[in-house]
């Protein structure tokens, strides 16, 4: 048994940490979030030169053969710097769908441009009523001769504003909740009938509402087999759940560090806050929760890596615990910062906001507890 990262993975971690230290201080991040794009296309290219964008793809697709553990390493480091560049929607979700399901032609058109940082993708899987159920799809794709005609509505599409192409889940057959009958389509954002309403989220990321009105697509637009997309959707969302959990654990580590530092310097009643036993115990609790959640992260990453039988169950265990830990660490960090914790000027509140949205993304604790129980 070995919990150690490989030399390459450690180098990757160091590379990202150095980038954060040198190029991505909090004030730079804040400027990026407030900019038109909401992130830096230049830094996105930097990530390409670091090899991050092609990391979790097979060599035959032009990737570096990385797996879940590499994704974990990248996202955990991203979390500590609160990096807002859209890695999960672009690479973990969309890139992996193309790589798993795409025809050679689809891969050739998309993957090199994705890896170079020139093309952005988004995966539209959620609908207003679907909550976290990936099989709840009402968006329809009707066969019309050699074409498909798409109608429906997709909500909170991450990275929608930057996306050149969208991957959309739509129902080609079956009922609302059926796992079979779901297909994926790759659509240019400029295609007639596709309309996107772009906006910012509270965590600084960007998203869109997507309306599809009689969008006519040729059969070349379908990604993978007709009606059989569900298992691939579930696979990439599990991978993304691991990724966002790693990000959360990076954030938790940073929030614990910031809080510890703050309580050591802030004095009230003639002593540092860190000297009060009532507060010490709470910081011990947040420290323990971070460590325990990280253990689940490592467990789930290796299970996914080994394609273990209980990999999916371990992802649900992880995300359930991430949700609980995020609540505890997020809320305690703000409380221990006092009034300063709720100000826009301090970074702690921004870590808190991202940690809070992560509690929901790809399923909250309740959802994953129920899923865990059902598996």
């Amino acid at each position: 048994m070995d919990f150690l990262l490989s030399d390459e993975q450690k180098q990757l971690q160091d590379l990202i940490q150095q980038f954060i230290q040198k190029d991505y201080p909090f004030d730079v991040r804040e400027k990026l979030v407030k900019s038109e794009d909401g992130f830096s296309k230049e830094f996105w290219k930097t990530f390409s030169t670091f090899g991050l964008l092609a990391m979790p793809f097979p060599e035959e697709d032009g990737g570096y053969n990385g797996g879940p553990v590499d994704i974990m390493v990248i996202l955990e480091a991203f979390g500590t710097g609160l990096i807002v560049e859209p890695y999960i929607p672009n690479i973990v979700l969309s890139g992996n769908l193309i790589s798993r399901l795409g025809t050679q032609d689809q891969k050739d058109t998309i993957l090199p441009n994705l890896f170079s940082g020139d093309m952005h993708l988004a995966f539209a899987f959620a609908e207003p009523q679907s909550r976290f159920d990936l099989n709840d799809v009402t968006t329809s794709a009707e066969k019309d001769g050699d074409n498909f005609k798409l109608n429906g509505y997709k909500s909170v599409v991450m990275n929608g504003p930057a996306a050149d192409k969208l991957i959309i889940s739509a129902r080609t057959s079956g009922n609302q909740m059926d796992k079979s009958g779901i297909s994926l389509f790759v659509v240019d954002r400029s295609v007639s009938g596709v309309s996107l309403r772009d906006y910012s989220n509270v965590d600084g990321s960007k998203a869109s509402e997507l309306t599809l009105e009689n969008v006519v697509l040729s059969k070349d637009a379908i990604l993978g087999e007709e009606g059989n997309a569900f298992s691939s959707i579930e696979y990439v969302v599990n991978l993304a759940t691991l990724a966002i959990s790693a990000e959360a654990i990076g954030i938790m580590q940073k929030m614990n560090e910031l809080t510890l530092e703050y309580t050591k310097t802030r004095e009230q009643f003639g002593q540092a806050l860190s000297q009060f036993q009532a507060l010490q115990h709470r910081m011990v609790d947040t420290f323990m929760v971070h460590e325990q959640t990280k253990s689940l992260l490592l467990m789930a990453a290796t299970k996914l890596n080994d394609q273990a039988e209980d990999a999916v169950k371990s992802i649900s265990a992880l995300k359930y615990q991430v949700g609980n830990a995020a609540k505890l660490i997020g809320e305690e960090s703000i409380q221990l910062h006092g009034g300063m914790g709720v100000t826009e000027e301090m970074s702690i509140g921004h870590y808190f906001k991202r940690l809070t949205t992560i509690r929901t993304i790809f399923g909250n604790s309740d959802y994953h507890l129920k899923k865990y129980s059902s598996l």
Partner: protein
């Protein structure tokens, strides 16, 4: 013991209800219902309507314009205000400065300040916390030096809620640095228009501008604006904090919010049904409702003790902790109800526009509320300080 309403109480409830129905301006109601931020004018307009009816300074002694209502009537009144989703009463004048002036002020001060508070002609804010003095309020450093018949004030206050709207600020200032830190504190009223007073906004994580820093640079304040004796400020502050803690729980408002969330669970689509089909979610909602009932009856017990001649003492810390816990859990449950639709951020101008909102109509204010409500366990004496108060003053530890 009798915990039910009498015939007269029910009649009173009808009277309050029909008054609100007739007098609550529809434009303000619309803003409140849609979650659009209210302006200073909206709040003053509504509060003046209550003033004119004689229903604003409800807790004051009758000689200063109070209502003389029983505890039950006050309870009914607050519930009806919350029920109708009227703007929260801004407490700094009517619930804080007013009681200090009629309890500790001289006759001249009562005549000078109380009518304008009761009639909503003057907006007050509270100058307590300082950058270095939060939970440890008694360590405050803003200095007031007596020179002839004036105080010269230097220093700064922080977390000053709605100072941007305020005409006057009541401040705790240091008039003596020599002895025990609590003993050198005085209670001073300062006109915000005095040269040397500067207000700077603090933007909070929900993106709103509610709190401020207030700076005092050689501000000249007439000595007649001192309430009580020099050095009496700490006792006044303790009196006031106890008052603040009883009101801070916002229980009537929470009752309305719980019902609103219950309604939402019946309408918000989830798969082929509605959110109410999610039993884990509904369990949480019901747990919060039970917590709220216990907080409500604890508040009623405190109010009943007060009306029997007692003071809101250290026990009011229970209300502050209990009420704010519920405020925070409920704001969190609203976020959970929305799933992904809790995440889109809407600026004030987005809220004012007529464009269809992203997600359900009620969604826009939900996450800002959750984020903003982190403050409730921090302000008014943090919940850690409240526990210290209970430990020391109630349990005698």
């Amino acid at each position: 013991m009798n915990l039910s309403f009498s015939e007269e109480d029910l009649k009173f409830q009808q009277e309050v209800r029909s008054f609100i129905k007739e007098s609550y301006p529809s434009d303000i109601k619309e803003k409140m219902d849609k979650g659009i931020p209210t302006t200073k004018e909206d709040i003053v307009t509504w509060q003046k309507i209550l003033s004119e009816k004689g229903w604003f300074a409800i807790n004051w002694p009758e000689e200063h314009g109070g209502t003389g209502w029983s505890v039950t009537q006050k309870f009914i009144f607050q519930n009806e205000l919350a029920e109708a989703n009227t703007p929260n009463i801004v407490p700094f004048g009517v619930s804080m400065c007013g009681p200090v002036i009629y309890t500790f002020g001289n006759e001249e001060q009562k005549e000078r300040f109380l009518p304008d508070i009761r009639d909503n002609n003057v907006w007050w804010c509270q100058g307590y916390s300082e950058p270095g003095s939060g939970s440890d309020l008694a360590s405050l450093k803003t200095k007031a030096e007596k020179k002839g018949n004036k105080y010269i004030v230097n220093g700064s206050k922080t977390w000053t809620t709605l100072a941007q709207n305020a005409d006057w600020i009541f401040c705790l200032v240091r008039t003596d640095s020599s002895g025990v830190k609590q003993q050198g504190i005085s209670f001073l009223l300062i006109d915000m228009k005095t040269p040397g007073v500067e207000v700077q906004p603090i933007i909070t994580i929900d993106g709103s501008h509610e709190v401020n820093s207030v700076f005092f640079d050689n501000v000249e304040v007439p000595a007649e604006n001192l309430i009580g004796e020099e050095g009496a400020g700490w006792n006044i502050a303790k009196f006031l904090l106890a008052h603040e803690r009883t009101g801070i729980g916002g229980i009537p408002h929470l009752k309305r919010e719980i019902r609103r969330l219950r309604d939402i669970t019946e309408e918000l689509p989830l798969n082929e049904g509605f959110l109410k089909d999610d039993s884990l979610f509904m369990d949480k909602l019901n747990k919060i409702e039970i917590d709220l009932v216990s907080a409500e009856y604890t508040e009623l017990r405190t109010l009943a003790a007060m009306s029997a001649g007692g003071h809101p003492g250290p026990e009011s810390s229970i209300l502050k902790i209990g009420g704010t816990d519920i405020q925070q859990s409920l704001s969190e449950l609203f976020v959970e109800a929305l799933g992904y639709y809790a995440h889109p951020f809407m600026s004030e101008s987005d809220l004012l526009s007529n464009e269809k909102r992203i997600g359900p109509d009620f969604a826009a204010t939900v996450m800002p509320h959750y984020l903003n409500y982190r403050k409730v366990s921090i302000y008014g004496g943090s919940n850690e300080v409240q526990r210290n108060v209970i430990a020391k003053a109630v349990l005698g530890l």
